[in-house]
Amino acid sequence: MEDENSPALRAGVDFRGTPNATQPVLEHIKPGKKRAPFWRYIRINLPRTTRLLIIAVIAVIGGASASVALSNHEPFLYATHALWSVCGAAALFVAVGLLTSARIWKWGVPIALSSLLIYLGGLLGNAPYVWNGASVVSAAIWNLTLLASLAYLVLSWALRCGMIVAAPDHQHFLD
């Protein structure tokens, strides 16, 4: 009967011999503190949605980079090469993400950081802002590389913290 009443044993996890076997345990609370950091209280278990979201953000980075590379407004010297590199890496990331179940989100970080670096490079160069003569659409797409990169880094941080999980991983809630 024990396994019927133990969600952990039903899931093949044995906590017997640990305090959590028979008592509730509070995690992430530092000595002397009453509560854990705010973000530790958030745990979302939507692995497939999260995976799709991650892929979508990288696809936006790749698409926006390609669009900037195709425009006639090069943010700085050789930026087009860098933008196409980001675009290619993003395309590979999206393909692997959609066609396999590999844990690829760590590989998205260099893509996001590269995109961010290109954006910072553009700040020092001639980035396609409206005040630099670019159209509103071009400027919006250029800024999208920044916003999507930041969004990916936030998602990556949330993944590392365990706030979210991406398929094939799972939160494995045992309550």
Binding site: I42, V137, F173
Partner: protein, 505 residues
């Protein structure tokens, strides 16, 4: 027409800062008590799609729902510190003002023609909103649409919040009331069931927070003094004056939160009095909505319940009595020894064994959704006899007003989470005589009710939150007043904590 910023719109804007911030904080307090969100009506442990706690429950030992709550900081939730009852009081006090304000606002929008500020009258608005989005992304400021006080993207986003998000949050809030959800159970199922409704209500909260997270920076980007002045004076001719007044208003709101949080933690009974004055006049109307549901022990998908949702997954929210008498009853399988006493203010007091109850019930059963006050739900088929039928047998004397149910359970003795006292509940006669108010003795066609769920006999009050469906029932007493029993609030949790006897919401 000149849409402008009429005085009533500006007042509504300020009031909503108060209402929504109070609703978000008190809502988080309610979430804290069962910080898990599900898609299935059966809240089977480990199947939630989100958790908002750092607590890991015992893995190999029975635990009750009462211990699953989380201690949120009073800086985040209202009032914090595991005060579900007080959080509910504030949520319902505020919701009274919020809905009243929204209805008045909605009517004023219609009669003054101001609805045009939110409802697009041309498809061009959507195209223009796309252009405005691009403008924001390009780090430029889009201009207001001709004849409008803000741009098309603002129009659509404000319209979404006022005319879609707000009705949705009101609807999903209303359907968390057991009285409403169980009276209109078809609509409940149509909306996806209790847990989908609860999750959607939470996502509405996320929607409001996300709106503010975008709205506030944009106010600064458009010009804080300029924009806030419009919401105070109705124009931006004197931006400094308007901005200063608005800032003072915000400071007042923050001060209000601090004062209310401290006051609530210091004097919960005073908050209870305020709640009773504001909320009871409308919550008492819900007694006109008796539960009338009949589930099929399945999910809304129609799939069979299966092992995952069997009786052992019907959550337990209390610990069985630990007296020698009760343990002896259990050892003898209740059947021969258990006797339910029904007496008090009646013509024919009587005692009934389980066999007699079964005979009187004549096979009657109801399959209903349990609404825990904390948030979990389970579907169970309860076999038993309606309290109304028992009352007809014992014949209450003229002047009888309430029915009191007493449990074998003594909270301090049996449950380490709580302090002493016999567990009891009382219902007004109108609730006792509701068709689905039941004395149950069997669960899920699997024989006797398990000890954790209230064996051998328990009460089912389907229009109220779960804790009022008293378990381990020992006796029933008809009375002509309940307010002289113990603390006089009508039940164990009503006496010792901050819960209204009217638990129809």
């Amino acid at each position: 027409m000149d849409l402008g910023f009429p005085w009533w719109l500006r007042i509504e804007h300020f009031l909503n800062i108060i209402f929504i911030s109070f609703l978000v904080r008190s809502g988080l307090e309610i979430l804290a008590t069962y910080p898990k969100l599900y898609r299935s009506q059966h809240t089977v442990p480990g199947t939630s799609w989100a958790k908002f706690t750092v607590q890991q429950e015992p893995k190999h030992k029975y635990y009750t729902v009462g211990g699953e709550d989380s201690d949120y900081s009073p800086r985040i939730s209202l009032p914090g510190q595991r005060q579900l009852g007080l959080g509910r009081y504030w949520h319902f006090i505020t919701v009274t003002g919020f809905i009243t304000c929204w209805i008045i606002y909605f009517i004023l929008l219609l009669v003054t023609g101001q609805w045009r500020r939110y409802v697009p009258t041309s498809w061009d608005t959507f195209t223009q909103a796309g252009h405005d989005m691009l403008a924001y992304l390009a780090f430029t400021m889009p201009h207001p649409t001709d004849g409008m006080v803000f741009n098309a993207l603002q129009q659509l986003s404000y319209g979404f919040v006022v005319l879609i998000l707000t009705p949705l949050v009101i609807l999903t809030g209303a359907f968390q009331s057991p009285a409403i959800a169980n009276h209109f159970s078809r609509i409940t199922r149509l909306l996806g069931g209790r847990q989908v409704i609860r999750s959607t209500h939470f996502l509405c909260l996320v929607g409001y927070v996300a709106f503010f997270a975008v709205h506030l920076p944009l106010v600064f980007l458009h010009g804080y003094l300029h924009e806030t002045s419009k919401m105070v004076l109705g124009h931006s001719n004197n931006p400094v004056l308007g901005g200063v007044i608005f800032t003072l208003g915000l400071a007042l709101v923050i001060a209000l939160h601090v004062v209310v949080t401290r006051w609530t933690l210091a004097d919960g009974r005073a908050v209870e009095k305020l709640h009773n004055r504001i909320v009871r006049p409308w919550s008492n109307l819900l007694y006109k909505l008796p539960a009338r549901m009949h589930y099929d022990r399945s999910n809304i998908t129609g799939k069979d319940v299966g092992l995952d949702n069997a009786t052992h997954n019907f959550r337990g929210s209390g610990r069985p009595p630990e007296t020698p008498e009760y343990l002896a009853l259990m050892a003898n399988c209740y059947e021969d020894d258990y006797v339910l006493e029904i007496g008090g203010y009646v013509e024919h007091p009587m005692t009934l064994t389980i066999a007699e109850l079964r005979e009187l019930a004549a096979g009657h059963s109801q399959t209903t959704l349990h609404h825990c006050v904390q948030g979990f739900s389970s579907i169970g088929r309860w076999r038993g006899i309606a309290v109304a039928d028992l009352l007809d047998l014992v014949k209450p004397l003229p002047g009888a007003t309430d029915v009191v149910y007493t449990s074998f359970q003594n909270m301090g003795r049996d449950d380490a989470l709580y302090e002493g006292g016999t567990y009891y509940e009382s219902t007004p006669m109108v609730e006792a005589r509701m068709p689905q108010t039941l004395i149950a003795f069997e669960l899920n066609d699997e024989g006797e009710i398990p000890a954790k769920n209230g064996a051998p006999v328990r009460l089912r009050l389907e229009s109220s939150t779960g804790f009022r469906s008293l378990k381990w029932l020992e006796r029933i007493e008809v009375v002509n007043r309940y307010d002289i029993i113990l603390e006089g609030r009508g039940g164990y949790f009503e006496d010792t904590d901050f819960f209204d006897r009217n638990q129809l919401i």
